[in-house]
């Protein structure tokens, strides 16, 4: 098995501030960035703070920016870098730092609470739900989300615009609205809740100008923009004219 020594620059610090720290660290065949961070902990920096759980791309805990790109550290193979490249690991930029690579992602939990929950149909009891696979496919795609918040981190609406955070739910939670809106049995209508208009009026859908940056970083390869945001805009725009929908449609047609 071949191994080599890699150069790492890891951001270290806390709410007071901090900076990049250089390390030399051993790398073995088949390893991912998270393995290297763990090796730093075990050998050079025992108090280096990092979040992780599954180490298999399933829990969405280990989000960070690797050479400036939002990624899951456990799914970033060292083999994608050259051996002489210095690898820079920094915390997610859109959220306040807690310590080292750990950020305060509370924004996302606040937004999650603002989306009204699934409304069960009043005429169906447990065990009586019937839904066809093709009707649940779309919402299931959105439910693949592992809440890594990489899309929330990358979206330019909030990335460097703290001031937009109040009004904008971010791609993950706009997608949650779309998921419920497309759920075949969601009975929100019966309660007078129109999810499409709330997306526009309460969750800031209008801020999104379909740049697709969120889709690009999604480790689950969910087509957030094409399958959730644009259709939501279309449905919301039934009554309101939104030039972006028109634009989105044109882009999509060209993409085919």
């Amino acid at each position: 098995m071949s191994s080599y020594e890699a150069g790492f620059r890891v951001w270290r610090g806390d709410t007071e501030g901090g900076g990049l720290e250089d390390f030399k660290v051993e790398v073995h065949d088949g390893e991912v960035v998270l393995d290297i961070i763990h090796r730093l902990q075990a050998t050079q920096a025992p108090d280096l703070a990092v979040r992780w759980n599954c180490k298999a791309g399933k829990c969405g805990s280990c989000s960070a920016e690797v050479n400036g790109r939002p990624r899951l550290m456990c799914m970033t193979r060292m083999s994608v870098f050259t051996r002489d490249e210095v690898i820079t690991v920094t915390p997610l930029r859109a959220f306040p730092v807690v310590r080292d690579l750990v950020t305060d992602v509370g924004f996302n939990y606040t937004k999650a609470r603002e989306v009204p929950a699934f409304v069960p149909p009043s005429d169906l009891g447990p065990g009586e739900y019937r839904m066809m696979q093709e009707d649940v496919d779309r919402s299931q795609e959105f439910r693949k989300c592992i809440e890594c918040f990489l899309c929330q981190d990358t979206c330019h609406v909030v990335r460097d615009h703290e001031e937009n955070k109040g009004a904008f739910a971010g791609p993950r939670f706009l997608m949650r609205v779309a998921e419920l809106d497309m759920h075949p049995l969601d009975a929100a209508d019966a309660e007078g809740l129109d999810r499409k208009t709330t997306a526009q009026d309460e969750h800031g859908l209008g801020y999104c100008n379909i740049t697709k940056c969120c889709t690009e970083v999604c480790p689950e390869q969910i087509r957030i923009t094409d399958n959730a945001l644009i259709p939501l805009k279309e449905r919301a725009a039934d009554r309101k004219y939104d030039p972006l929908v028109w634009l989105g449609n044109t882009i999509r047609r060209r993409g085919r």
Binding site: M1, H28, G30, D47, A56, A117, F118, Q140
Partner: protein, 650 residues
């Protein structure tokens, strides 16, 4: 007296996995003000990793299924050591628990007529696992998380505060259960990761749902959270653990590259048609069908292959034997020199299904191998080998109420609770277990807390708070080198090194195949590690300090590992997740014995325990006889394989 923040709640749930969240939802719906505490962020608990599905006899895929059949499969899988009343309740209530998830917004894969689709899994007679591709655990966690939020939204509408009735304390860790003078639960002592601050939650009822212990082993499918905290908390609070020798090694973990060794390859790969081959290309599982299962499994490849389409007239392929059987078989093939290049065997779907079907049915497996091992599973075979996956042993509980024995106010549910799965768990039976017993634990904890009334609440003993705080801070003042002496004075130990040594010890000496002398060595090594762990030191300060947290987790891993090693040494037979090379047969007399582990020094003062004799005392008790109407669900010929003569005549 230590000045720490205090809060008062009715029920505290330790753990936000499937069991913990289901318990919390129930407790809150019963009207109890409920606090949930978890080590990671909300929605990241281990349950999120579950892949294959939730077992429930809804009979959507095969009309012959029913709770009796599910009960039977569960008892067979556990080799009849299961706490049978739990297996009964589980089989009966699982369908309702799954259907209820749909009313909370879950979207399972569908049958052609629009019901919940069910898939085959090892040891289950009919297709029984409700699933969403191979990310069922994510669906389960997300649904429970969203139901939790839905309840918080209700509370907000009523009281203007989302967290007035149900609050999640994320990235907080419980290090001690507190009790009053009469030995009743009075609360929990915790630290918050972010700030490193301590706090106490005063509550008369505590539900432990902290999951498993896999991080004591080197090769495991489990995450960092699985340090056996709940098991240790219960022991320290004076509750016994049941049958800790039973640890499940899942037959198919990744074996290469080294950094992903142990990561799970879901059993659905085999349930959907994947086969196991050795280096000679042989489907070796046909040679490993044990006597107890002879009539139930195909004898030829042709019959096994026909079963996928016509299960009523053919028997299932032996790749779908219970996990312990498959894991042992793989182990034996590798030992005999017929393994794959990286020390596993081959698991192949590429020759069994078209590429696009593989990508649709097993999307995360496709992704996982592609991303982490450069293997395209639609074109070539995977290499797999056993990995430490699940602990059947756990806190001894009352079957109906999930109450831990001997400590009023303490409840346990999920992987941390013992009994339900006997000596071996069937795939899919954990997620259903979480829902069934999570709900029961939440219900009974809320009723118990409600029954005490305001005046009847147990008081927190301040000495215990002081002791817990001192214990948690010790790693910061571990003895360093002595002034004026060479470096070898008494340097503090590195917690990461201690952890690695512990993992290696358990893996090598108390692993999948066990032998008496090796377990003796393991106990010696554990004794040594225990002494060294008292000197585990940390650098830096208290904010989000992983070295500190690991130093604290070591106490729990050492306690649990000792339980496993002692119980494994004691049980001189092989059964389910416990295989003794020196006692290879299953012994019907042993079926009547449960092994209980208790803390040797009930004051919980770990420092005082004898270095040689250890911290754990074992005792035996007789299992409760299975109720006759449940026994009547089996053929007599089958029962004689499991039950002793005396039991059969009773």
């Amino acid at each position: 007296m230590t000045q720490v923040e205090r809060q008062q709640w009715d029920v505290v749930v330790v753990g936000a996995g499937g069991a913990g969240l289901r318990a919390a939802i129930e407790a809150r719906e019963q009207g109890a003000r409920t606090a949930v505490i978890c080590k990671s962020l909300f929605g990241k608990a281990h349950t999120v990793m579950a892949e294959g599905g939730i077992a429930a006899a809804m009979a959507n895929a095969n009309e012959h299924d029913g709770w009796q059949v599910h009960f039977r499969d569960t008892m067979r899988g556990g080799k009849f050591l299961n706490q049978w009343r739990m297996a009964e309740l589980h089989a009966q209530e699982a369908p309702d628990r799954v259907w209820e998830l749909e009313t909370w917004g879950a979207l399972f894969d569908r049958t052609a007529d629009g019901r919940i689709s069910q898939r085959n899994f090892g040891g289950h007679e009919y297709p029984r696992l409700a699933h969403v591709g191979d990310r069922t655990g994510l669906e389960l966690i997300r649904t429970l998380q969203q139901k939790t939020v839905a309840l918080q939204q209700e509370d907000f509408r009523e009281r203007g505060d989302y967290e007035s009735g149900l609050k999640v304390f994320q990235e907080c860790t419980v290090t001690r259960i507190l009790k009053d003078e009469d030995g009743r639960v009075s609360g929990v002592f915790c630290y918050e990761r972010e700030s490193g601050r301590f706090f106490v939650i005063e509550a008369p009822a505590v539900v432990i749902s902290t999951g498993g212990i896999g991080k004591s082993f080197k090769v495991t499918s489990n995450s960092w959270e699985y340090t056996g905290d709940g098991h240790a908390l219960a022991l320290l609070a004076g509750a016994p653990l049941l049958n800790m020798e039973f640890v499940q090694f899942h037959p198919t973990g990744m074996v290469w590259p080294p950094s992903v060794k142990g990561i799970l390859v879901t059993e659905s790969v085999r349930g959907d048609g994947g086969v196991l081959r050795n280096s000679e290309g042989k489907r070796f599982m046909f040679d490993y069908i044990p006597d107890v299962f002879k009539e139930k499994y195909a004898e030829t490849e042709a019959e096994g292959d026909r079963w996928y389409d016509d299960p009523d007239h053919n028997r299932r392929p032996p790749e779908l034997l219970p996990r312990d059987e498959v894991a042992r078989a793989i182990n034996a093939e590798v030992k005999a020199g017929r393994g794959s290049p990286h020390g596993g065997v081959f698991l192949d779907v590429s020759t069994r299904m078209p590429a696009e079907v593989i990508r649709r049915r097993l999307p995360s497996m496709y992704h996982q191998f592609k991303e982490l091992a450069d293997v395209d599973i639609t074109a070539e075979a995977m290499e797999v080998g056993p990995t430490c996956h699940y602990v059947m042993g756990g806190i001894a509980v009352d079957s109906d109420s999930a109450a831990a024995r001997g400590v009023p106010g303490l409840y346990a549910a999920g992987e941390v609770a013992g009994g339900m799965h006997g000596s071996n768990r069937l795939g899919g039976n954990s997620l259903s277990d979480l829902l069934v017993f999570g709900r029961r634990a939440g219900l009974h904890a809320a009723q118990y807390a409600g029954g005490l009334g305001e005046g009847g609440r147990p008081a927190v003993d301040e000495d215990q708070v002081d002791a817990a705080a001192a214990e948690a801070l010790r790693p910061f003042s571990a003895e360093g080198p002595v002034e004026g002496e060479p470096d070898e004075g008494r340097p503090p130990e590195n917690p990461y090194t201690l952890h690695q040594e512990l993992q290696q010890t358990m893996n090598d000496l108390v692993g999948i195949i066990r032998r008496e002398p090796e377990m003796g060595q393991a106990l010696e090594k554990l004794g040594e590690l225990r002494v060294r762990a008292r000197r585990a030191g940390v650098e830096g300060h208290r904010q989000f300090n992983p070295g500190w947290h690991l130093a604290l987790d070591l106490r729990n891993m050492l306690l649990v590992s000792e339980c496993i090693a002692r119980a494994a040494l004691e049980r001189t037979e092989s059964r389910g997740g416990h295989t003794r090379e020196d006692w290879p047969e299953m012994d019907r007399q042993w079926r009547r014995a449960n092994l209980l582990c208790r803390l040797a020094d009930p004051t919980g003062n770990l420092a005082a325990t004898d270095p040689v004799r250890g911290q754990i005392r074992l005792s035996r008790e007789e299992t409760e006889p299975v109720r006759p109407d449940l026994l009547a669900l089996f053929e007599k010929e089958e029962l004689v394989k499991y039950l002793s003569e005396e039991e059969l005549h009773e």
